[in-house]
């Protein structure tokens, strides 16, 4: 297990790529902020546990799994708001081809005294093959009454009508597919602050989609 303590006012951005087994625990002190990126191109298990131990903490979790063959990624987030006036945002995306499998369990807990928390969780997934499977399980436990909490989950396929629209403009289906997939994952990759890291990941993704 990796444990990270963020001191008062400390800011940290972490990018983890292809860790096969990530058990990450972060304790955040007052006004600290964490931006965590977890990117998987191969099989992995991720447990991402964040505790807000003081007021004013901010957390952003961006997770992308892009899988082919029989690979699988299982991810469990545990976002615990124990103290109020904090915020969290989770953007979780899976792209599954062939017989790949994914699962996401999103535990979001806001304790009774944790008032004025703003928590968002979003999970959207693309299945590129009829044999790919995705399980998603948002789990919200909200005991405080003065909070904003939202969650959404969707699983679907590439938009056929968009592909046809592109074809009607002269764009081949292969090229159109690549453009749509790129657009889907860019939401996550573009959030990374380090430009060279961003470009390196985008070109790795382009190679997979070719």
């Amino acid at each position: 297990m990796v444990t990270l303590n963020l001191n008062k006012g400390e800011h940290r951005e972490l990018v983890c790529v292809d860790e096969p087994s990530l058990d990450f625990h972060c304790l955040q002190e007052e006004d600290s902020s964490l931006r965590l990126f977890v990117i998987n191109f191969k099989s992995a298990k991720n447990v991402l546990h964040i505790d807000h131990c003081a007021t004013g903490c901010r957390t952003e979790i961006y997770h992308l799994a892009l899988l082919q063959g029989e690979d699988s990624v299982h991810t469990h987030t545990r976002m615990h708001h124990d103290i109020g006036k904090g915020s969290s945002k989770q953007m979780i995306k899976f792209v599954l081809d062939d017989k790949a499998q994914g699962s996401f369990r999103g535990e979001l807990r806001i304790q009774k005294d944790a008032q004025q928390v703003d928590a968002q969780q979003n999970n959207s997934n693309l299945l590129l093959s009829p044999k790919a499977t995705m399980r998603t399980q948002p789990q919200l436990e909200i005991y405080a009454d003065d909070v904003k909490a939202s969650h959404g989950a969707s699983t679907g396929q590439l938009d056929e009508s968009a592909l046809f629209y592109m074809q009607q403009r002269g764009i081949s289906p292969e090229r159109g597919r690549q453009m749509l997939l790129r657009a889907f994952v860019a939401d996550i990759i573009e959030q990374i602050s380090d430009e060279s890291r961003r470009e390196e990941l985008m070109s790795a993704i382009d190679r997979i989609f070719e």
Binding site: M166, Q168, R169, G170, I171, S172, L180, A186
Partner: protein
């Protein structure tokens, strides 16, 4: 020179139900044809079949574009050969910017024609030029394709794409639906300015209104899957007065 488009005894169905029941139509270079008719007559099916929408099945008949077998080509090749459809319901593509979308489309067509790709500077200049034709704002470039566009903006965006791609055959499928009078005027003026002696246009519409602005050389009535009457622009005025009752 071959006719621009020759449709001969075209039959097509969707989900096993026959919609087009023997359409014949010839279009020469430089002509504007209006296709009118009651709802469900097959107007949109005709446009979908011409661009190769996979939901429709052509069961018999032939379509030649400049003498080439159009029906044998995949949709993207038809587009590169110069067939353009202004969609009745343009599709939103979140995350794909207009500039990226258009640059890909323009360069795919240039590659098909054996021309070199446009440089970024050349391309942006072309975008600017064509945008002004449709009175569209600069910020268009970075917006996702059709995402969050109003009904009028979507239709203008279709004609903008038509201006960028310079097709030889443009099919406007109910481009007037959902447009207010100002947007209608801008769209129609855009279409008129793109007209040359070399290209042609099929205007599919339910109403005469659009034809006040885009004046057709021929008007056809499509009813129950066939063209049942053809005439000049005065036919559209008759239809406006008498309705489609006699064809239903």
């Amino acid at each position: 020179m071959a006719n621009l488009l020759e449709i001969h005894d075209l039959h097509a169905s969707i989900a096993g139900k026959e919609i087009l029941k023997g359409v014949n139509l010839t279009i020469r270079h430089g002509e504007v044809h209006a296709i009118m008719g009651p709802n469900g007559a097959g107007k949109s099916t005709l446009s979908a079949v011409l661009v190769g929408n996979p939901q429709y099945e052509v069961t018999s008949g032939t379509v030649l574009l400049n003498g080439k077998n159009l029906l044998a080509m995949p949709p993207e090749q038809r587009a590169c050969e110069g067939v353009f459809l202004s969609f009745q319901y343009p599709v939103e593509i979140p995350g794909v910017s207009m500039v990226n979308f258009m640059r890909t489309a323009v360069n795919e067509k240039r590659q098909y024609e054996g021309k070199p790709a446009l440089t970024a500077t050349e391309f942006l200049k072309l975008m600017r030029e064509k945008r002004s034709l449709l009175e569209m704002a600069d910020k268009l470039n970075n917006r996702s394709v059709n995402e969050g566009f109003s009904g009028g903006e979507k239709k203008k965006n279709e004609i903008f794409q038509m201006a960028m791609l310079q097709p030889c055959l443009s099919i406007l499928d109910e481009t007037d639906s959902g447009l207010d009078i100002d947007a209608l005027r801008i769209v129609a003026e855009g279409v008129n300015r793109l007209k040359t002696k070399e290209n042609a246009c099929i205007v599919i519409t339910h109403y005469q209104r659009l034809l006040d602005y885009i004046v057709p050389d021929f008007v056809h009535v499509l009813a129950d899957g066939r063209i049942v009457k053809s005439g000049d622009k005065t036919l559209a005025l008759e239809l406006e007065q008498n309705g489609y009752a006699e064809f239903e």
